[in-house]
């Protein structure tokens, strides 16, 4: 036996509670929760953070992170977060939203919060479908993608085109940071961790509005195995949603 003591090289972030996630197998929400928890730990924000959660599969964030949380109505998380931040300038305020919440119902709120340069951080999980409500078409659904409301596949002629939020937010002057990352492989996850830290840093240093868009898998509503959904992300999602940092401070 070796005399060298065994060391823990990977452990759960402190701010992440012990509760078992309710997410489906292969869903990336849990991973995004962990990346957010790591950033909260690293910036020592556990006691000053307020999470504002939109409606969607991520709605139970308060069950998983040991921080103060507030539930916002559909799409209104950036507006609620702006109010909390303006009345509590010392708090670290972030929103956690999905693509149905942020890119459809809450388009107005997100655009204007970014344009006003609100000092908040937005974590945007894009899985190209309405997950919680049962797999309907979202604005981010890719052309040809089958959903319960587009059974023959989304037709751009009839149903419009995918919305690229990271690029849209990046062109607004109030935005300090806007990036799109992916959770589909190890390299993507490591880039995502750095981007998450950068998005948190933007608020800590009072640089302005920060948005991080994370491409993620929804095997259940894509009707795929977890492995097939990772392949789909690489083959279909990333070409339509190019990864990169669109604005940095």
């Amino acid at each position: 036996m070796s005399a060298i003591a065994e060391k823990k090289v990977f452990s759960t972030p402190q701010v992440l509670k012990d509760n078992v996630y309710h997410f489906c197998p292969g869903c990336h929400h849990g991973l995004v929760h962990r990346l957010a928890a790591e950033a909260l730990d690293d910036y020592n924000l556990a006691t000053s953070a307020v999470g504002v959660i939109g409606v969607g599969c991520g709605v139970f964030l308060y069950d998983y992170l040991a921080i103060d949380c507030c539930e916002a109505p559909h799409g209104r998380a950036p507006a609620v977060a702006a109010g909390i931040k303006r009345t509590n300038p010392g708090a670290f305020v972030f929103t956690y939203q999905g693509d149905g919440d942020l890119a459809a119902i809450g388009t107005s709120e997100i655009i204007h919060a970014a344009n006003r340069g609100e000092q908040i951080t937005v974590i945007f999980v894009n899985n190209s479908v309405y997950g919680m409500t049962g797999g309907q078409m979202a604005p981010t659904t890719l052309p040809g993608q089958k959903t319960t409301t587009t059974p023959a596949g989304r037709s751009p002629l009839n149903d419009g085109h995918p919305v690229n939020m990271a690029e849209i937010i990046a062109i607004l002057p109030g935005t300090a940071y806007s990036a799109r990352v992916s959770c589909h492989n190890l390299k993507g996850i490591r880039t995502a961790r750095k981007a998450m830290h950068r998005a948190f840093q933007a608020q800590v240093e009072k640089r302005g509005f920060a948005l991080i868009e994370l491409l993620s898998a929804c095997p259940t509503n894509w009707r795929m195995t977890p492995q097939q959904s990772l392949q789909r992300m690489e083959d279909e999602m990333i070409p339509a949603y190019p990864l990169g940092t669109y604005k940095d401070f």
Partner: protein, 68 residues
Amino acid sequence: MGRVTVKEERCKGCGYCIEACSSANLYLDRDKRNKSGYSVASFKDDEQCSGCALCAEVCPDVALEVYR
């Protein structure tokens, strides 16, 4: 040498860790199911594990802990 522990109640058997492992130390145990009914990932200790923690980094359910 490394070692991986699986928090079985957290694991949902998605298999991401098995694909990430370069030394094939993880496998899906079809005979073992947790309370939620999922087959869970299991660690095969044949002293090949380097403790790189790639499996834990890709785990969406934060079900793995790695020791080295």
